[in-house]
């Protein structure tokens, strides 16, 4: 966070009343963010008894199980799916964000609104729409039957491709919007300057535009990658639990298998991955970038 560039810093030390007003916020964060995280960590060190109750203790057994090749493979597959989703969103979304930012103000407002609507539409509705299209008696197979009857029916639903399609479809607006925001802030004069100094378009794009829109790319990548790694609803609906990802396994440990300590250990591993990725992104973020 950058401090507000105000000459007279309005910040003062809080008095008794301010502390009193601050108390609900502090209590909420302590009770519902910090305490649950610590309890999850504690739970992951425990064991379960034969009735599925948590026996608190201190053992690293659950973490040893996390490192089992079966679960490592699921972790890697989740990261792979999320990376593929993020990459596709970036390839598909960057040109769109760029085009929106360059459009005339009127067109820009309209295009932005057109991206906002899917952004706010329930992802369940959007996933469900793909179920209707991809299923055996769905629209796509009807089209295939009509064009090339010999191929029909294609088994499209409940495949990894269906999962990735659903994830890209769900998260694409999350990438377009932040990238748009940073292209929009880009000062065209810098590009003019680069051209005047003799750089051609193939040089200006990677040397000027890409680095200056990196903050938007970083924000968009985070907004797509992080939820995509742990998503279980889209994968359940479009993958039919045939391609279990880490979110499905955690969900299963908590609600069906009732092995909370193991589920918690998987959760803590996921949290660790998340925190590391945040630190890496923060380190990559350019500091004191060019200003127009």
């Amino acid at each position: 966070m950058t401090p507000a560039p105000v000459a007279r810093d309005p910040g003062t030390r809080p008095g008794a009343l301010a502390w009193l007003l601050l108390a609900p916020l502090l209590a909420w964060l302590a009770l519902f963010v910090v305490a649950p995280a610590l309890l999850l960590l504690g739970c992951s060190l425990g064991e379960r008894d034969e009735f599925g109750q948590v026996l608190w203790g201190f053992s690293l057994e659950n973490y040893a199980r996390v490192l089992d090749p079966i679960y490592l493979r699921i972790f890697l597959r989740s990261l792979g799916f999320a990376a593929l989703t993020t990459g596709l969103c970036l390839l598909i979304g960057y040109p769109v964000a760029y085009q929106i930012a360059r459009a005339a103000p009127r067109v820009r407002e309209l295009l932005l609104l057109l991206v906002m609507v899917p952004f706010w539409t329930s992802f369940l509705v959007r996933t469900y729409a793909w179920m209707a299209i991809l299923r055996e008696e769905g629209l796509l197979n009807a089209l295939v039957t009509w064009l090339q009857p010999a191929w029909a029916p294609l088994g499209l639903l409940y495949t990894p491709a269906a999962v990735v399609t659903g994830l890209v479809y769900s998260y694409l607006p999350f990438l377009i919007l932040p990238v748009y925001a940073s292209v929009e802030k880009l000062d065209g004069a810098l590009i003019e300057a680069a051209h005047d100094l003799g750089a051609g378009p193939w040089r200006v794009f990677p040397a000027v535009i890409l680095p200056l829109t990196l903050p938007g790319i970083a924000a968009g990548v985070t907004l797509v990658f992080v939820p995509a790694v742990a998503m279980f609803a889209v994968t359940d609906l479009l993958g039919g639990a045939r391609v279990p990802l880490i979110g499905n396994v955690i969900q299963n440990q908590f609600l069906q298998a009732r092995d909370w300590p193991f589920g918690a250990a998987l959760g803590v591993a996921l949290l660790g991955l998340f925190l590391v990725s945040q630190l890496v992104l923060r380190a990559l973020r350019p500091r004191g970038a060019l200003r127009g």
């Binding site: 995280a37 760029y98 539409t121 209707a132 479809y169 992080v226 742990a230």
Partner: protein, 279 residues
Amino acid sequence: MAALPPTLRFPAAGARLLQAGLRGWTGLVLLFLYVPVLVLVVYSFNSARLGVVWEGFSGRWYAELLLQAPLQRSAFNSLVVAIATTIISVVLGTLGAWLLHRYRFPGRDLIESLVNLPMVMPEILLGISLLVLFALAGVGLGFTTVIIGHVTFSFPFVLVAVRARLQGLDPALEEAARDLGATPWGAFRRVILPALRPAIFAGGLMAFLLSWDELIVTYFTASAASATLPLKVFGMAKVGLNPVLNALSALFLLVTLVGVAFSAYLRCGARRPPPTFPR
């Protein structure tokens, strides 16, 4: 700010090609975003149960929606949860934003990081960690637990929206109010709060929509009696396609369109610069 649009200089033919390419691509991507949901809306009016073949226009699936008591019950639950979440998030977020903006105290940075965490953390982690907390504290799952979960990831969005508005606010406004004899609370209520109204509305709308649409955290914190609409829809969709769901999805889309139009209208209001103190 950006006086010139970012335009790459290509030789004339190349520039035209790039322009056409970008336009065409944007159009294709918008088609990709809209065609699947539009297909869903069109088929929600098909009188056939699930076939691809169009068998005539009919509103029977919408009529059937009116007969589904469990769905209506869950829609009511969703509404209760979303309204409660919005109210608590707005109070918590607005007060928090002002206090974090106004005061400096040890641990302030830590609090800001903690506020940001639920916004960016995978939702499943919030869900399972709250589930462990509620189980250990002996709190039965119900409306309270769902609302707690929803507020935890919603209020930071209100806080961030209000904070952004506060940073654009002239500190002289509050000083002037104080010089004229207002108490700190009076200055907040009569001067700051009115200037924050667009941000509070926008943040509140966001909290409402986030809560209305939430599935993952709810999945771990709801009981059968407090199941929300997304939870119910997820359960139904897992079993397979259902023409009543097509109709419901179309209604969802309508609600979203209204919400987006409303927030676009609000954004026009928010773009009005906050009042400044004439010097």
